[in-house]
């Protein structure tokens, strides 16, 4: 399970790190491959961050609201027939 391991052990992290190291040894000042790699890393970061934020918002606003019929009735001051005080 991903949660039990350190992120540094993940294949994704190792891959990105290796790619950056491979591109570090270059004598060219404007290395196009370096720029491309940087853009890729930034894009991946955006993906990871946005998915996390989206999921958090989903849990916060779309996951809740699972109210029981009793709760819903109670919200507007009613009782269901089977509850004490409820009308049959």
């Amino acid at each position: 399970h991903a949660a039990g391991r350190h992120y540094r052990d993940s294949p994704a992290y190792r891959h990105v790190l290796a790619a950056f190291r491979a591109h570090r040894v270059t004598s060219e000042k404007l290395c196009r491959a370096q720029q491309e790699l940087h853009f890729q890393a930034a894009t991946y970061l955006c993906l990871l961050r946005s998915v996390r934020e989206h999921e958090a918002l989903h849990r916060e606003y779309h996951g809740k609201g699972e109210r029981s019929p009793e709760e819903v009735a109670g919200l507007v001051g009613f009782r269901l027939p089977q509850q004490p005080g409820g009308k049959g």
Binding site: Q40, C46, H54, H58, Y61
Partner: protein
């Protein structure tokens, strides 16, 4: 929602490309084809999506997996020509080309934020695009469409699926090309795509559960699509600049 039914996620290389293993099972597409991807980096990213699932599998967060499934299954059954035509057709209704006249503040914002990107595309591709306040939109010359058609033809089928996906998300071919060409970031592209929404939010206030939700979802999808295109169109060998050690 499905429970996470696997402990370990790994990738392996098969005949058709890189495969995803969920414990001893090989991942399949919705149409039960073997899930294979042409790029190792893409396989690692997909594996990471699967390994990030906790108790339940949240498919709506697994954008790279979804894109790969679309490329493998091609559910809309479109060939390369049809995909390219669909992509370029978006230019006729490109967000960046449709301008308002009212309110003046928004018209000004569109001019300041969108004109430079349109200008960049016109220069980069040596085409005329323009913009319009007419309900019919801009009049895109046939030569402009031809240029984009021929440019997109240089991408393989997988990358094209990704490009068309990004275009439909952003509602703009120009913004998508800006991303593919690494001229703008995902955050910027999404902001520009949602310029009118952002303007309204600044005027009337933010509604987190709606606005931020849409913003994050669009960013996630756009980022996934962009990454997908780049990973499917690059060569996998790393070219070392110095001599071998």
């Amino acid at each position: 929602e499905r429970k996470r039914f696997y402990q370990n996620v790994s990738i392996s290389q098969g005949e058709g490309g890189f495969e995803i293993n969920l414990d001893h099972r090989k991942l399949k597409t919705p149409q039960a084809k073997l899930f294979t991807v042409p790029s190792e980096a893409l396989a690692i990213a997909v594996a990471t999506e699967w390994d990030s699932q906790k108790d339940t599998i949240k498919f709506y967060t697994m954008h790279l997996t979804t894109l790969c499934n679309t490329a493998l299954d091609n559910p809309t059954q479109r060939n390369k020509t049809q995909l390219i035509r669909a992509a370029v057709k978006f230019l006729e209704t490109d967000t960046l080309c449709y301008r308002v006249e009212e309110p003046p503040a928004l018209a000004e914002l569109q001019k300041n934020e969108w004109d430079p990107v349109v200008a960049w595309a016109e220069e980069r591709y040596n085409v005329t695009i323009g913009s319009s306040t007419s309900i019919l939109g801009p009049n895109i010359p046939a030569s402009t469409k031809e240029t984009f058609i021929s440019h997109l033809a240089s991408y393989n089928m997988w990358a094209l699926q990704g490009i068309e996906f990004v275009i439909t998300q952003l509602k703009s071919l120009i913004l998508s090309m800006g991303l593919i060409d690494r001229h703008i970031t995902v955050e910027k592209a999404v902001l520009l795509s949602r310029l009118e929404e952002e303007y309204q939010i600044r005027r009337w206030g933010n509604v987190e559960w709606a606005h931020d939700y849409d913003l994050c979802e669009l960013r996630a999808r756009t980022a996934a699509g962009t990454l997908f295109v780049h990973l499917c169109s690059e060569s996998s060998t790393v070219k070392h600049k110095l001599l071998q050690d």
